[in-house]
Amino acid sequence: AMEDVSAKFVSQKISRTRWRPLPAAALQPPDLFATGSWDNEDNRVSIWSAGDLGNAGLNGEYHGEPHLLCDIQHNGDVMDMQFLDQERIVVASSTGTVTVFRHHQNNQTLSANHRWEKAHYHVDQDTSCGGAACTGVVCNNPEIVTVGEDGRINLFRADQKDAVRTIDNADSSTLHAVTFLRTTEILTVNSIGQLKIWDLRHQRNEPSQIFSLAGDRVPLHCVDRHPNQQHIVATGGQDGMLSIWDIRQGTMPVSLLNAHEAEMWEVHFHPSDPDHLFTCSEDGSLWHWDTSTNVSEKPSFLHQGGRSTAYLSHSTINQSVVSAWLSNDPTKDRMEITNLIPNQTLSVNSLDVLGPCLVYGTDAEAIYVNRQLFA
């Protein structure tokens, strides 16, 4: 299926790629995505059109390549990025600032809508107060949670000037990523191999639960939870290992799966078909983990490139196979693993999946769009 991938060299190292979420009743596949760059003298947040679905254009030419719709300068590296809604996107900066950008679709421009300066910061021994990189952001409109190198957790509201809640020194090591577990609970991972649950309703500045890797405390870099089975959580570590946790039981992962040869930067369950999981890594690979047992059982929309029945929830189907993620030896017979980039050399920093579409970005300054993931 490599022929379905279109690439574009963009002259900036890409740290994040995110599909714009689709309206609830949408049947068409995603068409717009955002990227953020890092390690440039001039970093940018950009909005791209994914290009045609492979249909011939009016002049019979093929518009396969993603093309730039608009972009805006961003102060510092883009560390993380998340769409708040159809128009707004929240961006975490290495300067510690968190910015909400608005994409104006009528005239294709981006503007800074709101900004929390130095939401993350260090209190230097010598009085001065320096920004600390904000490493992760997650949104559940209107709530925004950010974590950072300062071990701080911030809870913002899109329309409020000040933070709703701040947990200073929530973690003594660097928090690398955050995601929502439920509407009031979040999950964080840190640089000493811990997965923590925080209940934002409680005023206590301590996690409600701590899970951790046994043995060497390998740093965890990314976290995602199963979209339908909220007790199943996946994390990726510095050693490239994929860990699956069942947060209902124990304090250690249910399974450790050997995966990449270097840092796993992102892990994502497929939002509407969570039998599929995607991971990308510093080693330049992007893996597709498939636990759907039988090819013929695949939901029909996967074959049709996202027409007709796309994006209906398939929870009934998922119920039967979901245990695949929790089975003791998932590698044996039920999981099919494919590396989607065989010859890449530089890091794949980010990926996002939505419907039949995958977008990813690399340190080799290229973005790739695959519109027929399951073809």
């Binding site: 021994q125 071990g151 840092e263």
Partner: protein, 686 residues
Amino acid sequence: MDEPDTEPPLVVVPGADPSARQLCFAWGPAEVLVCETLFGRAGGSRCRRRSRSPSPSRPRAEGRAGAAARALTGSVAGTGEGAPSSSRVFVVRRDQDIYIQTLRKLFNESHGIFMGLQRSDEELAGKSRKAQLVQVSKNYRSVIRACMEDMHQAAVSTRDPALQGQYSTQVSILSAMELIWNLCEILFIEAAAAGPLLLRLLDWVRLHVCDVDSMVREVLSSESPSKHKLFWNVVDIFVLQGRMDEARHLLSKEASANPTSMTMYKILDDLMKKMPVPSLGNTQTLTELELKWQHWHEECQRYLQDGTFASNPHMESICKILLGDEDAILEKRELMTTWYHFLVTRLLYSHPTVKPMELRFYAQSSMDLFLGGESSPEPLDMILMAAFEFEIHQVIKECSIVLSNWWFVAHLTDLLDHCKLLQSHNLYFGSNMREFLLLEYASGLFSHHSLWQLGVDYFDHCPEYGRVYLELHIERIPLSTEQKALKVLRICEQRQMHEQVRSICKIMAMKALRNNRLGSALSWSIRAKDAAFATLISDRFLKDYCERGCFSDLDLIDNLGPSMLLSDRLTFLGKYREFHRLYGEQRFVEAARLLLTLMTAHIAPCSFWMTLLTDALPLLEQKEVIFSAEQTYELMRCLEDLTAGNPDKQKFQDDDVETTKVEMLRLALARNLARVIVKEGTVEGS
């Protein structure tokens, strides 16, 4: 071995004035620092400052290859304008194209091709290996072309004339690079043999010389094409490029518009149709071709001498061209625009079976004839000439001098090296030419804010000095975020660069420590297995505890795991925290045993013993007896060791608080001993 160039090229550093002040230099891996000294130039006077003519006293920057220095650009750091007394430092970079935004696409995409080539299978047998190498070459060229198109688009869409000029210059440089690369591909990589060689050269000319298509469209779209003023020009261009079918198609328009010339046209058309051409397959031998060609040539000759075309000078001139008449071809100089087009046309109609090694003679004479002494050859002409002469090293050297980037020579040389064409060539400074050029290119990448990651892989494929270069460069990468540090660290770890791993972790740990992030600091030193630093951080934790009476960062200390064994102090920290936990959980016996072990097994540093003994106080005061008699004796010995062995005994005794503490401890120990003796006696007696 190459001789160093006797006359290295001049480098003018804009703003530096060597006629007024003496300059000093410092070479860096990718840049040169040029500094104005306080010393005036002997005999120099102020009025010479603005002199622009090169004076004999002007310093020369000598590139290590001699060839490198033309690619230098200057930028001024520090103050300058209007402050004649202050000295300035100039940063002179060796590769200016690295900083062109649009070219980043070229650098990144070609990096992938380069890596593919390094991984490619050297064991492949002759033919398929050659096909593979030719494909790699074509891939490189297509990247250049794509970049050229982008640059062209940028030039068209911008309104800023300065920028437009810049883009146009880049387009012409890229186009020259592709022209040279393509010729090298034909001659060196594919090494086309007599016959196919001419076909390849024709393709090369068609691809690069004067775009005829727009002219054809203009002619064909006019009402009567044959009356168009460019009609014969287009026909001639087709003939000169050997595009016979297209030429005949156009000529047929003339014939239908002008019936009187029908006979003449038919004869010419027939001649053009019959012209024998080399085939790419093995369908005919060279001898067969030469025989056929001879016959055809004689036929053309006959018609010309007959005066068949006498009434139409256009057709007559075409017939002369078919016969390879040099004067007739040279008359069309304007249509060919370059001497190498002339060369290929000449070969097509006089020596279609030219052998690679004969090219040099025709190339030289074609250039002489074409330029006719009116203009002197440009650098591009010299490079192409060197290629036709099969002087590979000369090609690379000239390109290094002329082009403002290392990208071209580095990648071309690497490819030629993979074709095993450069093997016996060593340079006077040590490594071979391939490695030298790759090192220069990669150093340029490392001097760039973002492109440094690409440079790593190039250094990896330089067996001689790559490692040393990487070590030097990687230390200069600013570690702005932990994420970036992790990426740099990964590069070092993969290559077992222990020294650099330690230094990166130490820098990051120091940063974290300064920011009061003890947990982060500790995880960095654990990653580097830096015991000394782990000890330092543990001491900070303990100091914090002593000052505040409670532990910070419990989430970390409670979960040290096996990393606790990294340093003794860290072990102590972990165990001491465990003591507090046991105490908190009212597991007093276990807590007491652990506390004592910390001292008797010398896990605790001596400076901390007093704190530990003080921690024992509440245990001694418990209702129930916790410490056994033996344990109490050991505690007493610890206390006596501490008070006796203390070098600051004087100070110790002067300190009232400390004295009271010791007295209290002695009392508590004595009382505990009394209680335990009673208790143990009772237990044993019963």
